[in-house]
Every structure is written in structure tokens, then in C-alpha cells.
Amino acid sequence: MKGRDEIAQALAASGYIADAELATAISLMQLLRRPLLLEGEAGVGKTEVAKALAKVHVTELIRLQCYEGLDQSSALYEWNYQRQLLAIQAHRGTDSIEDQIFSEKYLLERPLLAAIRRAQAPVLLIDEIDRADDEFEAFLLELLSDFQVSIPELGTIPAITIPQVVLTSNGTRELSDALRRRCLYHYVDYPDVDRETRIILARIVGASPSLSLQIARMVEGVRKEELRKVPGVAETLDWAAALVGLDIRDLHDAPETVHETLICLLKTHEDRARVTPEVTQRLLGRVA
């Protein structure tokens, strides 16, 4: 069993700065073999967790993006109809054709099937599960407990390896209790100033420690304003990249530029109108 400090270090080496709790969650995932459900606002880095996890284990990341109307044929498997038809035409009159066309050769793997058929256990990311329908969620629950797939024409396909499953949800729909109970739960919050500073340092080439700290403090201030869309970590990184690109060393040197580049953080018209130059000035005053 890997300790959580080792996991935190390994994640940091792959570019993801995790807090101690997330590291615990990941060590539990391996110990208990349960999927991890990540919830949190958009842009706090839920998807990044899975990517970093795949990097840490040097394994493949298989991603299933959920959407309304997602069904088994695009999530699990599908027969390759075109090839099946061609085979039928080519072997017209042969008896054994039926056995042939329902073999693995004609099977198209979709993410969920692919995830249990790899020689090395991959990381399976089921992104935005709340966008999928109820029915799909129920089906997923079955897959996550048995890790086997039954295909009527082929029989049951057991898992070769059990993938590490990460689910993310934005909370646009309430998930079922059964699915929630099955998973470990972690709420990804906006990072504190210290962690955000380290994230900026790790991700943005050319950002100095003092500028990173200023940016993190400024973003913290912006988050406390009454905004419709609170900026996430992704926005912070955008803004940091913009400031570094404009060659700004200290936020106090160029208040106008700071105000203008705030469009990286404020993504609605309402929010933009609310953060006036005066508000920017006030926020800058607190950054120190």
C-alpha cells in the first residue's frame, strides 16, 4: 500500500498539486477497489485528477464523456455492421457465416469495454456522469460492481484487469443514492492561496513565486465578490499565463492591464459589469 505522502509527491511530480485529503482518497481507491466520485464546481480540476493518476501509474487513460442520450452502443460496444454485411455478401451460401460475423473480429470496443480488456489496468474517467440519463447510471452501477459485460451474441466477457475508476459530476442532476454509496466521495473545493500559488508555479513557465502569490491572492479576492460564475483553477492559470505573456512582474505596476486582463477570470457579462476599475483597485489594495 502506498502511503498518502508518496501519492501526493507522485501527483506533484506529474503536475497536479493535491491536498492531503485527495491523496488519502486515492490511496483508499487502491486499497478498497472502489471508484472515486469527484464533485465540485466547474474548473476546479476534477478531470485533471484522473489525468494525473494515469501519469503516476504510467498507464492509459480511457475517457468516457457523458451526455444526454448516451447509450450502451456508444459507451460499451457495437457490432461493426458494415464489415458484417460485407462478410455476408462475400460468403453467401456458407453455413458457418453466422459464427464468423459475431466474433470478436467484428466487435467495436467502446470505452467501458476497452477499460476492462487491457493487459495493464488503465484509469477509466467517466466525465460528467450527471449529464447521462438515469438508465445509463443504473447500467453503469452494474458494470462497476461486477466488472463483466454480457454480449448476447458472444456470451459474458470478464474483466482482464480491474481499472481504476474516477467519476466526475458537476451537480446538474442529483445522482442516485446507490451510485453514490458505491463510490468513495471527494468534494473538490477551490484551492487555498498556498495551494493555488504552488499550482501556478508548477504549471506556468516563467511565473515568479512573488507574482504567483499575488495572483493567487487576487483570485481569492475575486472569488469572494458576488459573482454568477466563480472563476476556477483553469481560469486562474489562463490569467497567470496572460500576465506572464504580457511581461508583468508585479500586479501593482500595471493596474490597467490587470483590470483589462480580468476577462480571463470573468466569463459573464454581468460579472464583467460588476467588477469595475474601482473594484479591481480595491482588490489590488488587499493583495499587498
Binding site: M1, G3, R4, A20, E21, T24, A25, L28, L31, L32, R34, L36, E39, G69, S73, W79, Y81, Q84, L85, I88, Q89, R92, I101, G171, R173, E174, D177, R180, R181, C183, L184, Y185, H186, Y187, R228, E270
Partner: protein, 402 residues
């Protein structure tokens, strides 16, 4: 971290595990009381964790259990307090209560976190019994001896503002939440029954007809799935509505919980977006948060201005082609009535149906005289009273038809 995992004697292990499991079982019971959904598998996993060395440090164990037992944000937030209270022995701060909920002053203990609103009766009834046994028959008058079903029926016809007994209020809240659930299930079933194919699904047709050598004999149509109805509730929380606000809040909480897509707004002199506050699963807590927001700043109701800000900032996001906007208000506009008319017109252009619920409508001698309601009525598709549970229930078939 494998201190007691691998090698100790069988007897030792047995004694330790007995001790642990007794303590653990008590903790699980505490969590279940606090609204956590925990099954047997979680209990087993918790025991695994404890024997795998996680019990060595309280902070590590807390963090591990937090991930294992929490299922949603509200669990996540309250877990640390519960854990500390149980294992470390710290007391938990009790939270404030919504006025009118059927819950007396409770001691600031773990039990205090138990949600009074989700299970009325129970302990509360027990505590009530002795002091109030004398006056109970008087208070309930003739219906004192009636049994469950008929009492519920009665409650359905009582005007919300006449509910004074906290128990009755709790029941009304429960019924409102229940009603929201029922409305949702009916809607979904209708949708399923109404599906019909209108387009050829080429992919499935070919698949189905492989047994015919690819000649398309049996056709598969693509089935259209109806978008579920989205319900947007705008609740007037001004002083004149205060008698009704708490029941409607509970109803809205149920609606948000059960409808796939629902949004809620409160308004008095300004508009507040409250869906997030209401997403809290724990009804008591959600109502607490809301009742703070619902306190009007005083100085009347500006329906027109509130609608204007709704149209301007929120409508684009929350309204789609199958949206029903439900306004719950008495229509006493203290602002500009012309503005209200104008904004209602804008709203009606955007959404499919506007339902206006007016609790005052059922009062004897009420006529829609207020300037506000006069300006708004031309744009309203359904104008109905909503002062009893029965009248709320009567809306359901209407919503199903949308």
C-alpha cells in the same frame, strides 16, 4: 503503515476486532441517524481500513472515513463535526432552526443534528405527550379522535395560514414535499408512453436485418425522447405572503429535489437565485439557509423590477422550449405596475407557460383588483389559488399536459 495488519496472533486479532466492531457499529448508527446512507459493504470496508493501520492517527482515519461514508456535499461538510464528536469527544454546535418547524429546543448534542423535518412524530411526539395531553383534544376540536387517513384529508383543505400547530405545519411540509415527488413521477411516465418513432434509424435497421442478409425487411424507427419539463419557480417572499412562504419553500425544495430540471428564485424588493441553497438534501438545513434569504428588506414587493432582472440575467440560461414558469405571489405590487406588464409580456414570449399561483384568491370577497395583478393577468396561462394542499395537487394534471 502496516502496524497491526499482517502478523499478530489470532486471539489478539479477534479481541481487537471485537472491540473495534462494537465501536464502529455505534459510529455507523450515529451517521445513519444524521442522514448518511450507509450499507453493509461500507461497514466492512471501514473495518478493513481500521485493521490496515488507518486507525493509528485520528486525522488519517477521519479523512479516510470521510471519503468512504460521504455521498454528497452536505455529508462531506458535516462529517468532520460528527467524527470529532464521536471519536474525539468534542461537542457539535447545534444549528439554528426554522421558525415553525415541529421541533422544540433541542440539546446541542449529536441527536440535535438529526433532522426533525424528515421524521416528524417519533421522539418529538414522545416529548410532547405528557405536558400537552390535557389540552390536545380541545385544540383539535371534533376531529381529535379521528384516525390517520381522514386527518390527512382534512389537512389538505386547511388554508396554510390557519395552520398553527407545529405538528400540522410539519405535516403540511411533508405533504408538499411528497406532492413534488408525485408530480415528477407522473410526468416521466407520460413522457415514456408518448414516445413514437418518426425517423428511420439506419444503424439499428441494418443490425436487425443482418439475419435477412442485409435486406431491410423489419424497420427500426428512431424514438424521440421528450425533454423533461423544466419548472422555474419564482416565489414572492414579501411580508404580505409570510403566512404561506414556509410551506411553499418546502414545496420548492421537494420540486428541486425531484424534478430533473428545476430552478428557484425568491423575490421581495429584489430577486435572489436560490436553487443552490435548496440543493441541500437535508430539508431542515436548506430551509434554514433560505429563511435567511427570504427575510424581506421591508418596503413592499417590486415584482416588476424582480421580473426585469430575471429576464435580463437569468431567463436566457434557465428557460428552454419546455419550461413552465410558476410565479407564487399575491400580486400586490408596490413598484411600477406598467413595468410589471411589460416584463410579463417579455417573459411570455420566451417560455411555454406561465402559471400564477395566488394564495389570496380563495379568500372570500377577493377580486384581482391590485394594479399589479391586473397588469400581469393577460399574459398568464393559468391563474389559480394555492392556499391548500388540495389546490396544489390540482395543478398536477395541468403540468403533465405541457
Amino acid at each position: 503503515m502496516s502496524c497491526c495488519g499482517a502478523s499478530p496472533d489470532f486471539d489478539d486479532l479477534n479481541a481487537v476486532s471485537r472491540l473495534i466492531s462494537a465501536r464502529l457499529a455505534a459510529f455507523l448508527r450515529t451517521l445513519r441517524d444524521a442522514g448518511f446512507r450507509i450499507g453493509l459493504a461500507e461497514g466492512q470496508d471501514a473495518a478493513t481500513l481500521m485493521s490496515a493501520g488507518y486507525a493509528a492517527r485520528p486525522s488519517l482515519l477521519r479523512s479516510a472515513f470521510k471519503h468512504l461514508f460521504s455521498a454528497r456535499k452536505s455529508d462531506w461538510d458535516k462529517f468532520d463535526g460528527l467524527f470529532d464528536a464521536f471519536w474525539v469527544g468534542r461537542r457539535v454546535r447545534s444549528r439554528s432552526r426554522t421558525a415553525g418547524l415541529a421541533q422544540g429546543a433541542s440539546s446541542p448534542s449529536l441527536k440535535g443534528l438529526q433532522d426533525g423535518a424528515t421524521e416528524p412524530g417519533g421522539k418529538q411526539a414522545l416529548a410532547d405527550q405528557i405536558p400537552s395531553s390535557d389540552d390536545a383534544p380541545d385544540r383539535r376540536g371534533g376531529e381529535g379522535r379521528m384516525e390517520g387517513a381522514s386527518r390527512a384529508e382534512n389537512l389538505a383543505e386547511v388554508d396554510f395560514r390557519k395552520l398553527s400547530d407545529p405538528d400540522q405545519i410539519a405535516q403540511a411540509h411533508e405533504a408538499a414535499a411528497q406532492l413534488a415527488r408525485v408530480m415528477r413521477t407522473r410526468l416521466t411516465r407520460r413522457d415514456l408512453a408518448r414516445r413514437c418513432g418518426y425517423r428511420l434509424d439506419l444503424r439499428r435497421t441494418i443490425h436487425r436485418n443482418i439475419s435477412h442478409g442485409g435486406v431491410p425487411i423489419s424497420l427500426v424507427k428512431r424514438q424521440r425522447k421528450d425533454k423533461p419539463l423544466r419548472l422555474i419557480v419564482l416565489l414572492d417572499a414579501s411580508g404580505s405572503m409570510s403566512a404561506y412562504t414556509s410551506v411553499f419553500l418546502r414545496f420548492i425544495h421537494g420540486v428541486l429535489d425531484e424534478f430533473h430540471e428545476a430552478e428557484a428564485f425568491l423575490f421581495h424588493t429584489r430577486l435572489a437565485y436560490v436553487s443552490d441553497a435548496l440543493k441541500e438534501k437535508d430539508a431542515g438545513r436548506a430551509l434554514d439557509r433560505l429563511s435567511i434569504m427570504a427575510q424581506g428588506a421591508g418596503g413592499g414587493t417590486k415584482i416588476g423590477e424582480s421580473l426585469q432582472s430575471f429576464n435580463r440575467w437569468h431567463a436566457q440560461r434557465v428557460i428552454h422550449s419546455r419550461s413552465c414558469v410558476m410565479i407564487v405571489s399575491d400580486g400586490y405590487e408596490t413598484g411600477d405596475a406598467a413595468l410589471l406588464g411589460q416584463e410579463m409580456a417579455a417573459l411570455s414570449r420566451r417560455c411555454r407557460r406561465i402559471v400564477w399561483l395566488n394564495p389570496m384568491m380563495a379568500w372570500a370577497g377577493y377580486a384581482p383588483e391590485a394594479r399589479g395583478i391586473k397588469a400581469a393577468l393577460p399574459y398568464v396561462d393559468l391563474y389559480a389559488p394555492a392556499n391548500t394542499l388540495q389546490s396544489l395537487r390540482a395543478l398536477e394534471p395541468y403540468l403533465a399536459k405541457l
